[in-house]
C-alpha cells in the first residue's frame, strides 16, 4: 500500500527488541531509551503487546534521533529477536527491508518466512547461550548490549541506567545485567560493524523521559488540579496511577470510584467545593460520563476529563490507538451544551494541553475534554523540559457576595462569580434544572434563552490566543495538511521531509470551533489534505459542519490500529500535485 518509500532521517537509528512475554523485551527497550537520553539523544519508545496480561508476545520499538521526535518509525534498522513465538502477530509493526539487520538466536529455531522474505540480513548471536555463561545472566540484557552497540550508545550510559532501574533487585542482578550487556555488545561488534559510541555531549538543558499519560498527569497538577477520581480503564490508567502517587504529595487526593458515573460526579462535587478536579478515562468511560458532563455544563462547574482514545466502538481494541472519539466529545452532550474539547499534539504537548484544559475549564466554569490517545499516552519519549506556562485568569470567585448575589448572573463575558461553599452570603443550589440567575429552577422561556446565551457566550467569546493550533510548513503554500491531535506528529514529519511547499495546520482546540482563525490560516490555499485516524473520517465531517473550507479537499482517514506514517501523508500530497 505504501509506494512512497519510508522517510529517512539522517542520524536516526531504529531498533526493535522482541520476545515472548516475560522475556524482558520492554525492560531492555526502556533501558535503551533512557541510556540514549543520557548520552544526549532524543527518542521514542512504543510497545507492541498482545492482549494477554502476562505472557504472550511483546516488542519494544525504539527510535533514536539527534532531534526531538514525536512519531514512531516506518522502517527498522535492527530487529533483535529473542525468540520467534507469535512473531506474526506484530511483524507488521516492524517493517524491515534489505537495509535492515535481524539478530537472531540460533537456539530459537528456523528464521520465519516473514523475516527471510523481507530481505534483511540475518546475523546470528547466541543470546541464550551467552547469557547462560554469566551468573544470573539474562538474554534480554545480552540483546540490550547488542542494541546499544549498534545504536552507538556508550556503555557507561547503559551501566548507569541499569544501576538505577534495577536498584531494587539488588547488586547481584545489577552486576549480572552489566556483564550481560558487555557480552552482548562484544558479540555484536564481532558479528558486524558497529558505529563509534555517541560522544555523549549534551547542551546542558534538562532532558526528561516521560510517557504521554504521565505528561497528562503532570499537566493536570501544573494546571492546579488537586482532586482526581479514578476508575481504571486501558489505556488511561497510568494517568490515574501517576496522580494517585503525586496528588497526596501536593496536599491533594485521588479517590477510586465504583464506576465512571461515580468518578465524573465525584470530580463535579470536589470542584463545586472549590478544588480544581480531573478524571481520566477512555471511550467507553466517556460515554458513561456524558450525562453528568451535561450537568457540569448546566450547573457551570469546571471539570476536566482526559479521554485516552482507543479503538471503538464498544470494547473495541483497548490496547491500540484511534481518533474516533471526536464525534462523541464534540457532539455527544444532550441539549445545547457548550464545552471545551482540546487535543495534545505530541507526548510532550500532553503537559501543555492538559494544563491548558484545566485553565480553560476553570476560567470559563465549563467541562473540558482532552482527547489524547493510546499512542500518545503509552509512548515514552525523550523530551526537553516542557516550559512552565502561566495562564492569565483563574476561576472567578465571589469572595464577599453582596445581598443580592446571583450565582448565574448574566454578565458581559457570560462568566459569573462563583461562591464557594463556606462563604457567608453566597448560598445557592447548583442545578442541572434550568434556572433563573439566582439558581432557582425555572421553566420560563426567557430564563432558558438567557442562560443558554450566557453559557454559549462565555465559551465563544473567550480569547484562546494562538494555542488553538500549531501552524507549520510554508505559510504561503497553496497546499495544506489539516489534522488534529496525535496525527500531527506524522504530518509534521511528512511536511518537513518534502521540498513541496505545504502548510501544516494541526488543531489543538476542537470545540468551540475557531472559524476566523482557521479561515486566516487557510487563506490562499487551493488544496487541503484532511488527515485523521478514524474509519469514517470524522474530522472531515466536523470541518464541514463548522468551517468554510477554500478550494478542493481530500480526506485521508483510516481506523486504527495501524497509524499513519509520514510517508503515507507525503504520498497523498505528491499524488495530488
Amino acid at each position: 500500500m505504501v509506494s512512497h518509500g519510508p522517510i529517512e532521517r539522517p542520524g536516526d537509528h531504529v531498533i526493535a527488541i522482541s520476545g515472548s512475554g516475560g522475556a524482558g523485551a520492554i525492560t531492555a527497550g526502556s533501558i535503551l531509551l533512557d541510556a540514549a537520553a543520557k548520552s544526549g539523544r532524543y527518542g521514542l519508545l512504543t510497545r507492541s503487546v498482545g492482549p494477554q496480561i502476562r505472557g504472550g508476545e511483546a516488542a519494544a520499538l525504539v527510535r533514536l534521533s539527534d532531534r526531538p521526535l514525536s512519531c514512531g518509525a516506518e522502517k527498522f534498522d535492527t530487529l533483535i529477536a529473542m525468540d520467534w513465538r507469535n512473531i506474526d502477530r506484530f511483524i507488521a509493526e516492524i517493517p524491515l527491508s534489505q537495509d535492515s539487520t535481524v539478530i537472531a538466536d540460533p537456539k530459537a529455531g528456523d528464521i520465519p518466512d516473514a523475516i527471510s522474505q523481507s530481505g534483511a540480513t540475518v546475523v546470528e548471536i547466541p543470546l541464550q547461550a551467552l547469557a547462560a555463561e554469566i551468573d544470573n545472566g539474562r538474554p534480554n540484557m545480552v540483546a540490550l548490549g547488542a542494541a546499544a552497540a549498534l545504536a552507538g550508545i556508550p556503555s557507561d550510559a547503559i551501566i548507569d541506567v541499569i544501576g538505577k532501574k534495577l536498584e531494587a533487585k539488588g547488586s547481584a542482578v545489577i552486576e549480572a545485567g552489566i556483564a550481560s550487556v558487555i557480552t552482548g555488545g562484544a558479540a555484536a561488534a564481532d558479528a558486524m560493524p558497529c558505529p563509534p559510541a555517541h560522544d555523549g555531549t549534551r547542551d546542558g538543558a534538562e532532558r526528561w523521559v516521560i510517557s504521554g499519560n504521565e505528561a497528562a498527569g503532570l499537566g493536570a497538577v501544573r494546571g492546579g488540579v488537586r482532586f482526581a477520581a479514578a476508575y481504571p480503564i486501558t489505556p488511561a490508567t497510568e494517568i490515574l496511577e501517576w496522580l494517585a502517587a503525586g496528588l497526596p504529595k501536593l496536599g491533594g487526593t485521588l479517590v477510586q470510584a465504583e464506576d465512571e458515573l461515580a468518578s465524573i460526579n465525584m470530580v463535579i462535587g470536589a470542584s463545586f467545593g472549590g478544588t480544581p478536579s480531573l478524571t481520566a478515562t477512555s471511550g467507553p468511560g466517556l460515554a458513561l460520563m456524558i450525562e453528568s458532563l451535561g450537568l457540569a455544563t448546566a450547573s457551570e462547574v469546571p471539570v476536566v476529563v482526559v479521554d485516552v482514545m482507543r479503538g471503538g466502538p464498544s470494547t473495541g481494541i483497548p490496547t491500540k490507538s484511534e481518533q474516533s472519539d471526536l464525534n462523541i466529545a464534540v457532539y455527544g452532550f444532550h441539549g445545547d451544551a457548550p464545552h471545551v474539547v482540546v487535543a495534545p499534539l505530541s507526548v510532550s504537548d500532553c503537559v501543555f494541553t492538559t494544563s491548558w484544559a484545566v485553565h480553560l475549564a476553570e476560567a470559563m466554569q465549563v467541562p473540558a475534554i482532552v482527547l489524547s490517545d493510546q499512542f500518545l499516552g503509552q509512548a515514552r519519549a525523550v523530551i526537553d523540559r516542557p516550559a512552565d506556562v502561566a495562564f492569565i485568569g483563574r476561576r472567578e470567585i465571589a469572595a464577599q457576595p453582596a445581598n443580592d448575589y446571583c450565582r448565574y448572573a448574566v454578565t458581559a463575558s457570560g462568566v459569573s462569580p462563583m461562591a464557594i461553599p463556606g462563604t457567608a452570603g453566597g448560598r445557592y443550589t447548583a442545578d442541572g434544572l434550568e434556572h433563573s440567575p439566582s439558581g432557582n429552577p425555572s421553566s420560563r422561556g426567557e430564563d432558558h434563552a438567557a442562560q443558554l446565551d450566557k453559557r454559549r457566550n462565555k465559551v465563544d467569546g473567550f480569547d484562546y490566543g494562538s494555542h488553538w493550533a500549531d501552524l507549520g510548513g510554508d505559510a504561503d503554500a497553496e497546499t495544506a495538511v489539516l489534522t488534529w491531535g496525535s496525527t500531527a506528529a506524522a504530518a509534521n514529519e511528512a511536511v518537513s521531509a518534502t521540498d513541496m511547499p505545504v502548510r501544516l495546520i494541526a488543531m489543538r482546540l476542537l470545540s468551540p470551533p475557531q472559524t476566523d482563525q482557521l479561515a486566516a490560516a487557510l487563506a490562499g490555499v487551493k488544496r487541503i489534505l484532511i488527515v485523521d485516524q478514524s474509519h469514517s473520517g470524522q474530522f472531515q465531517r466536523y470541518l464541514r459542519a463548522f468551517y468554510d473550507l477554500p478550494g478542493e479537499t481530500r480526506s485521508l482517514h483510516r481506523a486504527g490500529p495501524l497509524l499513519f506514517g509520514p510517508s503515507e501523508i507525503l504520498q497523498a500530497l505528491e499524488e495530488w500535485s
Binding site: D34, A37, K38, W208, V209, I210, E214, L218, V221, R222, F227, A229, G246, P248, K249, L250, G251, G252, T253, V255, A257, E258, D259, L261, A262, S263, N265, M266, V267, I268, G269, A270, S271, F272, G273, G274, T275, S277, E291, S292, G294, L295, S299, R385, A419, P421, G422, T423, A424, G425, G426, R427, Y428, T429, A430, D431, G432, L433, N440, P441
Partner: protein
C-alpha cells in the same frame, strides 16, 4: 453587640429558604425538610458551612428549600457527587438526600459503595415506595402486587431492603424514621450528623397522591422497643424480622471513617518533576 458575645442561637427557620416547594399538599417531605432544619439548628454549624446534595425526584428538590449550599445533580449520582465534595472539603457538614428510586434503583451501586467507603456523610432517603415525579411507577421498595400502568398487576418482585443492604455494605449508622414524627426524625438526623462515618436514615415519607394507602403509616410507625446495638448480625436479624415500621437507631457502629491519604511533608510540582529528569 460586643464582639465577644456568643453568636445568636441558630433556629430551624435559619436553615430554610424562601423557595416554595413543588411538593403536593400532604407530602411527607415537608416534614422531613423541617426535621433537617431542626437537626441542623441543633448541630449549630452556620448554614453556609453545610452542603445538601441530591439527585432527581420529588424529594431531591430539597437542597433549594434549605438555606445551605446545595447541589441538585443528575438522577442517582448524589452520593458520588457528595463523596467528591466531602473528600475535597472535609470541613463542610455534608448531607445527601433523595428518594427510593434515586437511591436504590438508578443509584443502587453508589449506595453500596458509599456505605463501604464510610465517608462522613449523612444520607437521608425519603422512602415513599413510588416514583412520584413521573406520576406513579413502582420503585425498588414497592410491594410486589402494587398495580400501575407501567407494571399492570404489580411487579411480582421482592422489595429491596435498604437497611439490611446498608448494614451488609458497611454503613456505620443505620436508622429508620417516619416523616410525621418531626422531632423524632430531627433527633435521628442530628445523631447521624454527629456520628463519624457514613450514616443512613430511611424516613418513611408518604406519597399521598400516588400512594394514598400510605396515610396509614402514621398508625403503623412505632419506636423500636429494643436497645441500640453495635453488633451488625444482631441488627440485621432485628431489621429483617421486624414489621418494617420500627423507628430509631437500629445500628451504631464504630468503624473508622474514610481518611484521605495525604503525605506529611508537602512537595511542590517541581519536586514531582524530578522523577522524569535523567
Amino acid at each position: 453587640m460586643s464582639t465577644s458575645a456568643q453568636p445568636a442561637q441558630l433556629k430551624a427557620s435559619d436553615y430554610k429558604s424562601d423557595t416554595k416547594p413543588v411538593w403536593c399538599p400532604g407530602c411527607g417531605d415537608y416534614h422531613v425538610l423541617l426535621s433537617i432544619a431542626k437537626a441542623l439548628a441543633e448541630h449549630g454549624r452556620p448554614p453556609e458551612q453545610v452542603a445538601v446534595v441530591s439527585g432527581i425526584g420529588c424529594s431531591s428538590r430539597i437542597p433549594a428549600y434549605t438555606n445551605c449550599y446545595g447541589f441538585h445533580g443528575v438522577h442517582g449520582r448524589s452520593l458520588a457527587l457528595a463523596t467528591g465534595l466531602k473528600v475535597a472539603r472535609p470541613d463542610l457538614t455534608t448531607i445527601v438526600a433523595g428518594g427510593d428510586g434515586d437511591g436504590f434503583s438508578i443509584g443502587g451501586n453508589h449506595f453500596l459503595h458509599a456505605c463501604r467507603r464510610n465517608i462522613d456523610l449523612t444520607y437521608i432517603v425519603m422512602d415513599n415506595r413510588v416514583y412520584g415525579m413521573t406520576k406513579g411507577q413502582p420503585s425498588p421498595t414497592t410491594e410486589p402486587d402494587w398495580d400501575s400502568a407501567l407494571s399492570p398487576g404489580g411487579t411480582g418482585l421482592r422489595p429491596f431492603h435498604p437497611l439490611v443492604i446498608a448494614l451488609a455494605s458497611g454503613a456505620n449508622f443505620v436508622a429508620r424514621s417516619f416523616s410525621g414524627d418531626v422531632n423524632g426524625s430531627a433527633r435521628l438526623i442530628y445523631e447521624a450528623i454527629e456520628h463519624p462515618g457514613f450514616s443512613f436514615i430511611e424516613i418513611l415519607s408518604p406519597c399521598v397522591t400516588f400512594r394514598p394507602d400510605e396515610r396509614e403509616w402514621k398508625k403503623l410507625a412505632h419506636p423500636a422497643v429494643v436497645e441500640q446495638t453495635d453488633d451488625p448480625a444482631r441488627a440485621a436479624r432485628r431489621i429483617m424480622t421486624d414489621d418494617g415500621f420500627n423507628t430509631g437507631v437500629l445500628y451504631r457502629g464504630s468503624r473508622k471513617p474514610f481518611q484521605a491519604h495525604t503525605e506529611s511533608v508537602e512537595a511542590t510540582v517541581t519536586d514531582l518533576e524530578k522523577d522524569f529528569v535523567l
